[in-house]
C-alpha cells in the first residue's frame, strides 16, 4: 500500500460559522480517519519523534496500538508519560516538537501525531468506564502550588506513586491557564474539568481559593501543615505593557484580563455577571498563541474587525501554525511589521462629561523592517522613519507576555529568583531552598503548556527521589 504523502486533514467547523460561536473549532478525527492516519507511521527504530516530545511520550508504540484499533491500549501508552493527553492533543505546538522530527516529514508531511493523540484521548474519555484507582499511600505529603499544566502534571505523577498530594489554587476553579487563558473554542473546559476529576480519583486534594504567599506561606506548608516537599507552579504573573502613552485608557486590556473575563468569568455569555467590551474594532498587539486567542475571542464576542499588530513578519510569528491558519481563515486582519507607538483616546473638549471621554479611539503604529538577527536569532525589527499611521479601534489588547508572579518570592526567605523574577532551579527542578521545587512559567516566563508539563514531570521525579531517600 502506497503511503499517503499528506497528513489527513482535521475536520473543522466552517470558518464563517465558527467565527460567531465559542464551540470547538477542530472537531477531531473520526475513527476511520484515525485508523488511516495511523497507517502512515513508519514505526522507525530510532524514534526521533519521542526525542521531540518534552515529556517523551512513546509515540510509535501508541500509534502501533492505534493501527490495530486498540484505542484503550494506545491511551494507556500515552498516559504512562503524559497526564493530560486530551489537552496536549489540542494545544501542543506539534509542528516544532514531535512532528518536526518525524521521518515521514523529511519527504512528505509528518504523521498527524497530535491529531491522533487527541482522538485516542477523546475515545478514552468517551468510552472508558473504569476510574483510576489510587495506589496505596506511601505516607509522604507533598504540596503543589498552582493547578495549571505544571501543577496538575506534578500532582498526577506523585499521586500515582502513592504520595498524598494537595494542590493549592488561588482562583475559584482549578486548571490555571487551561481555564482562564485558553478559550473554549480551542480547549473545552469540560476536558480540563475531567482531568482535574481524574486527579481527585487518585486521592489528590484540590484546594481552591488559597493563595500561597498570602493565605498560607511556603514555610507554613512545611512547619505547620507537615508537607515534606513543595512544587511551585504558580504560572504567569504581571502582564507586560509597552510603556507607550495611552495604555491606561479605557478599552486597553492585558490579554490576561481580556481572556480571563471571557474564559474564567464567562463574560462571553449573554448578560454575563462579569462585563466585557463586545463589538467594535479591536487591535491585538503581539504574535504568540495568546494574541491569537485574544483576537479570535474578540471576533466571537462580536467585533466587526480584528487586527493583529505584530512588529516582525509572518515568518517570525511565534504562535502555533494551526492557530494562525485558523485566525486567517476566520478573517483576522494581520498587520505585520507594524509596531504601536501610542494609543489615542477620545476627548470631547466641549463636554467633559461625554461618556466616550477616556475611551480608546485609535492606535498609532510605525512600520518596521527587518534587520540583522538579534540575540534570539530572529531578525531585529527596525522602525521606518516617518511611516507612522493611525488605525481606528475601540479596544486594544496587549498580548506581550508576562513577568512571573511576585507573591511567593516576596513572602519566602531564601528563594532565589533571576533578573526577570523567575525562580532559579537546577537540573532537577530544585530551587535554592531545600525540598522546594519549581517549574513552568514561574521559572521560564510565558512558555507552552507542554513545557510546563515537562517541568512538572521532572520535579515529580526529583521529589520522589528526594523523599524516597529520606
Amino acid at each position: 500500500m502506497a503511503l499517503d504523502p499528506k497528513k489527513h486533514a482535521m475536520p473543522s467547523q466552517d470558518p464563517q460559522v465558527r467565527a460567531h460561536n465559542f464551540d470547538e473549532v477542530a472537531l477531531g478525527y473520526t475513527e476511520e480517519i484515525a485508523l488511516a492516519e495511523a497507517q502512515r507511521c513508519l514505526n522507525c527504530k530510532n524514534k526521533p519523534c519521542v526525542a521531540g516530545c518534552p515529556v517523551n511520550v512513546n509515540i510509535p508504540d501508541f500509534i502501533m496500538k492505534a493501527k490495530e484499533g486498540d484505542w484503550e491500549g494506545a491511551y494507556q501508552i500515552i498516559n504512562a508519560t503524559s497526564t493530560l493527553p486530551a489537552v496536549c492533543g489540542r494545544v501542543c505546538p506539534q509542528e516544532t516538537q514531535c512532528e518536526a522530527k518525524c521521518t515521514m516529514g523529511v519527504k512528505f508531511e509528518p504523521v498527524g501525531i497530535g491529531r491522533l493523540e487527541r482522538f485516542v484521548a477523546d475515545w478514552h474519555n468517551a468510552n472508558a468506564t473504569e476510574k483510576a484507582v489510587a495506589p496505596e499511600s506511601n505516607g509522604h505529603k507533598v504540596a503543589v502550588v498552582g493547578s495549571g499544566p505544571a501543577g496538575l502534571t506534578c500532582a498526577g505523577d506523585l499521586a500515582k506513586k502513592g504520595y498524598k498530594v494537595s494542590v493549592f489554587e488561588a482562583l475559584h476553579t482549578a486548571g490555571g491557564v487551561l481555564v482562564y487563558g485558553i478559550p473554549e473554542f480551542r480547549l473545552p473546559k469540560a476536558i480540563v474539568a475531567r482531568e482535574v476529576e481524574g486527579l481527585k480519583d487518585l486521592n489528590v486534594d484540590i484546594e481552591t481559593n488559597v493563595i500561597i504567599g498570602k493565605t498560607l506561606t511556603i514555610d507554613e506548608l512545611f512547619d505547620e501543615m507537615g508537607f515534606e516537599a513543595v512544587f511551585i507552579g504558580s504560572g504567569a504573573g504581571l502582564p507586560m505593557f509597552m510603556n507607550i502613552p495611552g495604555e491606561s485608557l479605557k478599552g486597553v486590556f492585558s490579554a490576561n484580563e481580556y481572556l480571563t473575563r471571557s474564559n474564567l468569568m464567562k463574560a462571553f455569555r449573554d448578560e454575563p455577571k462579569t462585563p466585557i467590551m463586545k463589538g467594535g474594532k479591536v487591535a491585538v498587539v503581539g504574535g504568540g498563541n495568546v494574541a491569537m486567542d485574544a483576537a479570535r475571542t474578540a471576533l466571537r464576542l462580536g467585533a466587526e474587525h480584528v487586527y493583529i499588530v505584530y512588529r516582525r513578519s509572518m515568518e517570525e510569528l511565534p504562535a502555533r501554525k494551526e492557530e494562525v491558519e485558523h485566525a486567517i481563515e476566520e478573517g483576522i486582519d494581520f498587520r505585520l511589521l507594524n509596531n504601536p507607538v501610542e494609543i489615542l483616546g477620545f476627548n470631547n473638549p466641549e463636554d467633559p462629561r461625554d461618556p466616550k471621554n477616556g475611551f480608546v479611539r485609535a492606535i498609532r503604529c510605525i512600520k518596521m523592517e527587518l534587520g540583522e538577527p538579534d540575540a534570539s536569532g530572529r531578525r531585529r525589527p527596525i522602525p521606518v522613519e516617518g511611516s507612522e499611521f493611525e488605525l481606528e479601534v475601540d479596544a486594544v489588547i496587549m498580548a506581550l507576555g508576562t513577568r512571573p508572579n511576585p507573591l511567593i518570592k516576596n513572602t519566602t526567605k531564601g528563594l532565589e529568583v533571576n533578573r526577570k523574577g523567575g525562580f532559579v532551579v537546577n537540573e532537577d527542578g530544585l530551587t535554592s531552598r531545600e525540598a522546594v521545587y519549581a517549574g513552568g512559567d514561574a521559572v521560564t516566563g510565558a512558555a507552552t503548556v507542554i513545557s510546563a508539563m515537562g517541568a512538572g514531570k521532572l520535579a515529580a521525579a526529583s521529589i520522589d527521589k528526594y523523599l524516597s531517600g529520606k
Partner: protein, 285 residues
C-alpha cells in the same frame, strides 16, 4: 462554600457580614482586602477587610449596595453561604514609625478606615479621625471611631448630621492651625481622596491613599487594577493588588484612576436595575 455567621444591617443600604474563613481570619491585617463571589458564575468583587476574629475564624466585611453583585450579596441571609472567599490580598497598611496619625474616611470607606484607626490606637499612636458621609442615613461606625480616636470629626455633605461640609474642611483647619501628623491616611471615594491629597499638599503633609480599582484575580495576573504613579524617576505603572492598595497620595494619577473606575459604569447601572427588578418580582410573587 463560606458561611455567613452573622449579618447586621448598619443602614438601609449598608450591611456588615461576618464570614467563616479561618485561613483568612488568621492572616488578614488592617488595610488588606478579600475577593468574593456570591454564587456560581458570579462576579469576583474585592472588598476590604473591616475586622477579623482569628479565634472564631471569621472575617468581617462592610459593604454598600451599589451594583448588581452587592445587591445579591445583600440578599444572602445569615446562615447562608458565599460561593468563594479568598484572601488576604494586598499589603497591610504601614504603621511603623507613625506616632500621630490622621485617618480620613469617606462613606463606606470608613469601614476600611476603622480597622486601620483601631490598629494605630492599639499601637499607642495619637489618632485623629475625620469621617464623612453624604447624609445622616449613611452615617456608620461613629461609636467604633469614638472608641479608638483621640479626636473625632463627623461630617455630612448636607449637614443632616454632625458638621456640614466635606472631610477636607476640618483637615484644612487643623493643618492651617499648625497641627503636624506623621501620616494622613485616607480611604474613600476617589474624588474625595484626590481632594484630601490636595489639602495635604498645601501644607506638605505626608499622605497615604487606599486605592480600590476594578480587578479580577487580585493576585497580580490580570493587570486590570493598574494605575500610574508619578515618581522622581518618571511615571510608573503599578498594580493595586500586589503593589498596593496603599500608595503615596502625591504620586497617584487620580484623574486617570477616576476615568478607569467608570469603565463599566453604564453596564453596571443596567445590571443593578435588572438585579433589583428580579428581587422585586420575587418579593411580589
Amino acid at each position: 462554600m463560606y458561611k455567613i455567621v452573622r449579618r447586621k444591617s448598619l443602614k438601609p443600604t449598608v450591611t456588615q457580614l461576618e464570614i467563616e474563613a479561618p485561613l483568612v481570619a488568621r492572616k488578614a491585617k488592617p488595610g488588606q482586602f478579600i475577593i468574593l463571589r456570591v454564587d456560581e458564575d458570579g462576579e469576583r468583587i474585592p472588598l476590604t477587610v473591616a475586622g477579623v476574629n482569628p479565634e472564631e475564624g471569621t472575617v468581617k466585611i462592610i459593604f454598600q449596595v451599589v451594583g448588581a453583585t452587592t445587591e445579591m450579596l445583600n440578599h444572602v441571609p445569615e446562615g447562608g453561604y458565599l460561593q468563594d472567599f479568598v484572601g488576604p490580598l494586598g499589603n497591610a497598611t504601614e504603621t511603623e514609625g507613625i506616632k500621630k496619625v490622621c485617618i480620613v474616611g469617606g462613606g463606606v470607606g470608613c469601614a476600611i478606615a476603622m480597622p486601620v484607626a483601631q490598629e494605630f490606637h492599639r499601637l499607642g499612636a495619637d489618632v485623629t479621625s475625620i469621617i464623612g458621609f453624604r447624609s445622616e442615613d449613611l452615617v456608620i461606625l461613629e461609636e467604633e471611631f469614638q472608641a479608638c480616636s483621640n479626636k473625632l470629626y463627623v461630617m455630612t455633605d448636607d449637614g443632616s448630621y454632625g458638621r456640614k461640609g466635606n472631610v477636607t474642611v476640618p483637615l484644612d483647619e487643623m493643618l492651617a492651625g499648625g497641627e503636624k501628623f506623621d501620616m494622613i491616611i485616607t480611604i474613600g471615594p476617589l474624588i474625595m481622596m484626590k481632594f484630601v491629597t490636595l489639602t495635604a499638599k498645601k501644607y506638605d503633609a505626608p499622605i497615604t491613599v487606599s486605592m480600590s480599582p476594578i480587578m479580577i484575580d487580585g493576585t497580580g495576573m490580570c493587570g486590570g487594577c493598574r494605575l500610574t504613579v508619578h515618581t522622581e524617576e518618571g511615571d510608573k505603572m503599578k498594580f493595586a493588588c500586589v503593589d498596593g492598595p496603599d500608595f503615596n497620595g502625591y504620586e497617584v494619577d487620580f484623574d486617570e484612576a477616576i476615568s478607569r473606575s467608570r469603565m463599566y459604569f453604564e453596564y453596571e447601572r443596567h445590571a443593578h436595575e435588572a438585579a433589583c427588578n428580579l428581587f422585586k418580582m420575587a418579593e411580589n410573587a
